[in-house]
Amino acid sequence: MGKLEIEKLSDSNFILQMGPHHPATHGVLRLFCEFEGERVIKITPDIGYLHRGIEKLSETKTYPVAMTLTDRLDYISSMINNIGYCLAVERLLNIEPPPRAKFIRTVVSELTRLSSHLLWLATHALDIGAMTVFLYAFREREQILQFFEKICGARLTVSYPRIGGVRFDINSFVLDEIYKFMDTMLNRIDEYETLLTENRIWIARTKNIGVISAAEAVSLGLTGPALRASGVYYDVRKHMPYDAYNEVEFEVPLGENGDTYDRYLCRIREMRQSVFIVKQCIEKMPKGEIITDKAIDIDISPERKRLFVAEDSLWSGFIAFLDEKRELIPKGEIYSAVEAPKGELGFYIVSDGGGKPYRMRIRAPSFIHISAIPKLCEGHFLADVIAIIGTLDIVMGEADR
């Protein structure tokens, strides 16, 4: 992006710089658009306005501390980011959280998915001009955030899961409340659908907009609802089950046409599935521990701290366990993925045996979805560009990292 490209443009086309400050670019995405009239000729996304160096920064933090950085990736689904990171480290350490922790994690994951999809629905509908849905969705999102507050005290940047479990147990009263809310949530989803699903204007604005075939979607690396709307059956929760996902029953909704309307339907159906998963988890919730004994953590009890702190560790604040080979964390590398609301969120961690990740690479779905914008916008109008940005559900915190 720069002077070179501007020079190459012909005079007859209408050039519009959208963003980084624009109400519809969902954060600080900048689009360099070339129009003929209002029809798109070419769109070049430009990112990097929210770069905070999270990957590099995590190399200077110990494993438990680096988790707090993942909160700031996709800041509207921080719970799932945390879980994704914790899973990667757990797999590196070869430890497993106790069953109750697994179920709790699944509950909070799906609550996060609900809240993230609600935010997507709200902003997507607002972009297309339906502003009432925006406030309805925020009403329910607020409830979910209040549950998070009751569970762990934080609403957005939760840092609730821990490597080897979760930080706090969920009170049974809160579980009851969540269970009751799930029934209302189903009614509320119906309410959004009455406003949108059969609305002629909504259909006119979303049908056949931003169509992408299954093959193209796969080759672009789309994941999550954006891929499933094209009819590709791929869901990390089904294909590489983690936490308690293989103990609950749920469907993976698929679309057919891969257009904006199908992506909308997919996400709406996914929200219903999330509700069912949460209900099943609460019904099946086992009793017991919430964090394993082998966990490395920043807030374990003083007795266990004495057990696990390396005797010759210069930094007494660092807690980890040492194995026979005197390695804090086993040497090796791991890629582990979770199904984030936006798509497959992967963590690739290289360990050199020390207490800090040697390298952490994050596969962020939003980053990959941005690369699909030029393809999706081909031949569409300016107004469709907005709909397409909305339908891809992009969060810049994750794309720039």
Binding site: I15, P23, E38, G129, T132, L135, L195, A204, R205, D384
Partner: protein, 331 residues
């Protein structure tokens, strides 16, 4: 001389009433949309936020008036005035009751259509003189939108004019009162529907608010405007809403009269002054405006134009033919 004085007083009365209405329509809009969206709307200023419009006015009046450096300064300053003047001028020909009208023109309907077309120049000028791409797109959109829908609007009113046999708004109301239904909305149902849709587009209101489509064009032709010039556009938009609501009331809903079959049934209703009926009908139409804004998404630009040209204009023409045919042969 006394006549002139009377005219000036009348003008002031109308203008004052309309300005108060505009101020409290913004309040009503926020309250109604608030209720529709499960929230309260303004609550802080005065009881139930009743003083909010006044606070808004004071705030916007004392804000800094910014003119962009690259703007075409003269046109930039004139544009809001053009819009406001040619919208407000419509109020002169609207009969609020049988005897309260500033200028009883023979061609009231034509006058309103004509000055509404002039008002769009202001919008185009605003979009062009701001020297900003978003404003420019908004201005262009507004121009083609208003031009397309003006035709549909005129065609829908032509049916009414044919039935009443007059372009004078007062005559139209009297002619309406004599018919069996008492309102033209029923015999002219096609025209009525076309008129409502075209009125929404003509006033740039949701779901046709493309010229100021917030998420695409930031604020369309208003993007570079601030402070009182910005308020002038808003004033014009709300006055235009009231003008459209008044025309709808006069041409389709019987103006200040109520249908005869109702007064036959409930004779005491005849004692209610005409202005009350007029106001109720206008408020109902304004409520419809707000209700629809809370409910529907926004059309895309090409879809908007294709509705105008492919649906509304043919429907309007068919309506004229049917009306003319019935008028010529059946009656």
């Amino acid at each position: 001389m006394i006549e002139l004085l009377g005219l000036v007083i009348k003008t002031f009365v109308v203008f004052a009433i309309v300005l108060t209405h505009v101020a409290y329509t913004t309040y009503a809009e926020r309250k109604i949309i608030g209720r529709a969206q499960a929230r309260m709307g303004p609550m802080e200023v005065g009881p139930h936020g009743l003083l909010q419009p006044i606070a808004d006015f004071i705030k916007i009046f004392f804000k800094e008036d910014i003119i962009p450096m690259n703007a075409e300064k003269l046109l930039f300053k004139i544009a809001p005035l053009v819009v406001l003047v040619f919208t407000t001028i419509n109020l002169t020909v609207i009969p609020f009751t049988s005897d309260f009208i500033i200028a009883d023109l023979n061609i009231g309907v034509l006058f309103i259509l004509a000055s509404a077309s002039v008002a769009v120049y202001g919008v185009i000028l605003a979009g062009w003189s701001s020297n900003s791409k978003y404003s420019f797109l908004g201005g262009i959109r507004s121009a083609s939108q208003v031009l397309s829908y003006e035709i549909a609007l005129g065609l829908s009113l032509a049916g009414v004019v044919l039935m009443a046999g007059s372009l004078n708004l007062r005559e139209i109301v009297y002619a309406q009162h004599k018919t069996a239904f008492g309102i033209y909305a029923i015999p002219q149902i096609i025209g009525f529907v076309v008129f409502i849709i075209a009125a929404f587009a003509e006033t740039n209101r949701a779901p046709f608010d493309l010229p100021e489509a917030e998420t695409e064009l930031v604020a369309g032709y208003l993007t570079e405007y601030s402070a009182f010039r910005y308020a002038l556009f808003f004033l014009a938009e709300y006055i235009a809403m009231y003008v459209m609501a008044s025309i709808c009331t006069l041409c389709f809903l019987g103006g200040w009269t109520i249908p005869k079959f109702i007064t036959d049934f409930l004779p005491f209703l005849e004692k209610v002054p005409g202005i009350v009926w007029f106001a109720i009908k206008v408020y109902a139409f304004i409520f419809l405006y707000i209700w629809i804004r809370a409910t529907f998404p926004r059309y895309r630009f090409d879809q908007l134009l294709s509705i105008g040209w492919k649906v509304l204009i043919p429907a309007g023409i068919i309506n004229i033919f049917i009306t003319a045919f019935i008028k010529r042969f059946a009656l």
